[in-house]
């Protein structure tokens, strides 16, 4: 069967050919995958199992001057509930106790929570929100609630953590410390957080990671990565205690006078360190909260607190002396067609320049300054410019207000400008700028720059130290400074600030009451709006701290004078600092032994040493000695009254029973 044999051979060739072709195709495809499309596939594989992970750097902390935390990053927890994974028995058993616990913690009635839990189960909700932004201890509390304590699978407990900025001081000093921008998480622009953002934020790292089980990633290499650098810590000059006092004292006055907003700054005289900054504004529902950084940002007409600056200029130029007499007439005069009045009806008559500042006479200042500078007002404004009061101090915090000091030739200038400026109108300054000047007066003429930061640290290493910075070594001659200091002291002794006087501690400062929004006089008269302020320092001799308090728009029916509205805040802070520094009394000690005391002690000691089984005689003994003695014998002592023992309820010589009660009458 040759025919047949050839047939089989042909078939064999055919099959072999087919297999060869198949093998060839595979080879072609292999080459295609390996070499032609290889790179693309390798990249895809790498993409699915490895990733370049960003390792976030930890943001540094902000500290107060004593090391208290002002801001730090912490995880906050969001709790959700998977209503499907829980089995029916567990759910039914735990529904009531769980709702009760939730009601205890979150405030709403238990029935409410029962309802939403039931609803979530019937709707097969696997992601029901229970609570947001829980701190650690609250999170642990929720985690231990019935049902939730069974964990994620049986209990349906889901916890997600995210890092947020936390302020251990609460709402206090919030504006100064600063917050994360609400709309762009991870960005900080306001306050200290914003000013030192670069130092605080650190550098994020990178690392290549490979996917492993449980959805975790492990690092591929040990090296070849960018190490994250944690942010530095910022140590501010804020003092927690002073901040607390300033905040609450301001709050109290704002509430009492129903003012719109106010601010307080406390500064250390010698160094310019800012010890406290409180900014409170009224919210829509009438409460007060840290709203805007008024202390730094709000430039407004300072009113009478500026008179001190005007007088310093005039004294320094020797165009006036504190004894120069000025006629303030009957409390109302017209100058260049505009009427100026003093707060006292009937006026002050003829007074000295010093007295004009003490009683804060607008007329006195308008006449004195106008009289001295009307021919050369530039001389006056140039001196103010020499003190740099016409420009920003240049603090690192965003939003410092721009002062406005007009001069001859400006659009704001007129014949009336100079007299107005002399008592604090027709110009604008921020509270911080005014305080910087008062601080210079307190600091014997050396103007230091206010600063908020002591140092920047990385762990225990100093990165940058901020030293006090002198702006002007001497703003005026010592004679001028001494005179101004004397007048400021007298203001509290007998001037507009005399209601603040305390015999215990001394203060010096100037009150201020300025009208605002007076453009339309008729409107203003209907609803009088003022800014009350008080700027000064304490103690009057060798001042340690300077302080300014500004309160905007107190309710005019309750009062608006600087001494009444802002003065008490100033006084409270001064008092606090006074009571915090102990008085020293040195006693030359003597090893004198008082014979009576010695005898007394010895007889007591003898009694105390006897482990007596009988009630001792404690009559005539001091109460505290008797208690010690009797309690050591195992008696329970009850005292009535104070002083020495007159009567004891158990008689001397009775046998003691352990735990027996004895009543002592003292007188």
């Amino acid at each position: 069967m040759p025919n047949n044999e050839k047939n089989i051979l042909n078939r064999l060739y055919f099959v072999a050919g087919g297999m060869f072709l198949f093998a060839l195709l595979i080879a072609v495809k292999l080459i295609d995958i390996q070499f032609i499309e290889g790179d693309a596939y390798r990249a895809l594989a790498a993409k699915n199992t490895t990733k370049n992970v960003v390792i976030p750097a930890n943001r540094g902390n902000v500290y107060a001057d004593d090391g208290s935390l002002l801001a730090s990053s912490v995880p906050k927890y969001e709790i959700r509930f998977d209503a499907v994974t829980v089995n029916k028995k567990d759910f039914d058993e735990n529904l009531v106790p769980l709702s009760k616990e939730m009601s205890k913690m979150f405030g709403k009635p238990a029935s409410y929570y029962q309802n939403i839990l039931r609803k979530a189960r019937s709707n097969k909700n696997r992601y029901l929100l229970i609570a947001k932004r829980l701190g650690y201890s609250d999170y642990i509390r929720v985690k231990k609630m019935p049902l939730f304590r069974k964990g994620p699978n049986r209990g349906g407990f889901i916890a997600e953590s995210s890092t947020v900025r936390e302020h251990p001081m609460g709402k206090i000093a919030e504006r100064l410390v600063g917050n994360e921008d609400r709309n762009t998480p991870g960005h900080y622009s306001v306050g200290l957080e914003g000013a030192y953002h670069e130092q605080l934020s650190g550098k994020e790292g990178r690392r290549l990671k490979q996917k492993i089980s449980k959805g975790r990633w492990k690092p591929v290499y040990d090296e070849n990565q960018v190490e994250p650098q944690d942010g530095h810590d910022v140590i501010s000059t804020i003092n927690v205690n002073m901040q607390d006092i300033a905040h609450h004292a301001l709050l109290k006055q704002l509430e009492e006078y129903q003012a719109d907003h106010g601010s307080v700054i406390v500064m250390e005289v010698a160094t310019g360190e800012i010890k406290a900054v409180a900014n409170l504004g009224k919210s829509r529902n009438g409460g007060y909260y840290e709203r805007l950084n008024y202390a730094v940002g709000e430039s407004s007409e300072p009113g009478s607190t500026f008179k001190t600056i005007a007088l310093t200029v005039a004294l320094e130029h020797k165009v006036l002396d504190t004894a120069t007499v000025v006629d303030t007439e009957k409390g109302s005069v017209r100058m260049y067609g505009r009427s100026i009045s003093d707060s006292k009806r009937g006026g002050y008559g003829e007074i000295s320049a010093a007295k004009a500042l003490e009683v804060s006479s607008n007329i006195g200042f308008a006449r004195m300054i106008d009289g001295a500078y009307k021919d050369d007002p530039k001389k006056f404004t140039d001196q103010i410019k020499k003190w740099n009061l016409h420009q920003k101090i240049g603090i690192p915090i965003m939003g410092e207000g721009e002062p406005v000091i007009p001069e001859e030739g400006d659009a704001l200038w007129s014949k009336n400008a100079l007299p107005s400026i002399s008592y604090g109108y027709n110009l604008q300054m921020t509270p911080l700028q005014i305080l910087t000047f008062y601080n210079a007066i307190a600091n014997n003429g050396t103007m230091v720059k206010p600063h908020f930061i002591k140092e920047i640290r990385s762990w225990n290493k100093q990165v940058e130290v901020f030293k006090p910075e002198v702006l002007i070594p001497k703003i005026a001659s010592q004679t001028t400074i001494n005179k101004i200091q004397e007048v400021l002291k007298n203001i509290v002794l007998r001037g507009t600030g005399k209601s603040l006087y305390s015999e215990n501690f001394s203060m010096a400062g100037k009150t201020g009451t300025a009208r605002i929004e007076y453009g339309n006089l008729e409107l203003w008269l209907k609803d009088k709006k003022y800014v009350s302020s008080f700027a000064g320092y304490f103690p009057a001799e060798n001042p340690k701290y300077s302080c300014i308090v500004v309160i905007h728009k107190p309710s005019a029916t309750k009062g608006y004078y600087g001494a009444d509205v802002t003065g008490p805040v100033f006084k409270r802070i001064a008092q606090k600092i006074y009571t915090d520094s102990p008085l020293r009394a040195e006693v030359a000690a003597v090893d004198l032994i008082d014979q009576a005391t010695k005898n007394d002690f010895e007889s007591y000691y003898k009694k105390a040493q006897q482990r007596s089984v009988k009630i001792p005689d404690v009559k005539g003994m001091a109460g505290m000695d008797a208690v010690a003695l009797l309690e050591n014998l195992g008696l329970r002592v009850h005292l009535k009254g104070n002083g020495t023992v007159r009567h004891q309820s158990l008689n001397t010589g009775e046998k003691i029973k352990e735990g027996q009660e004895i009543i002592l009458h003292l007188s």
């Binding site: 935390l69 999170y139 008085l583």
Partner: protein, 70 residues
Amino acid sequence: MIGSSHTADKKVHRIAQLSNQTKELKSEYLDVRKQLTQTKMESKITLVMAKTGLQTSETPPKKIIITKKQ
């Protein structure tokens, strides 16, 4: 090879656990610290003590220093 890869994996899981723990501990630390800062503030103490009739002193404490005669 496979063994060491597994130990490495185990270590990764352990690290994840530990870093979670440090997070929790830091959170707890700050939480307690916050409570402490707020309770020890003078305004809080004044408020609490007002109920018992105590108030802030008007005068500072006196520090008596004994100088010994030689």
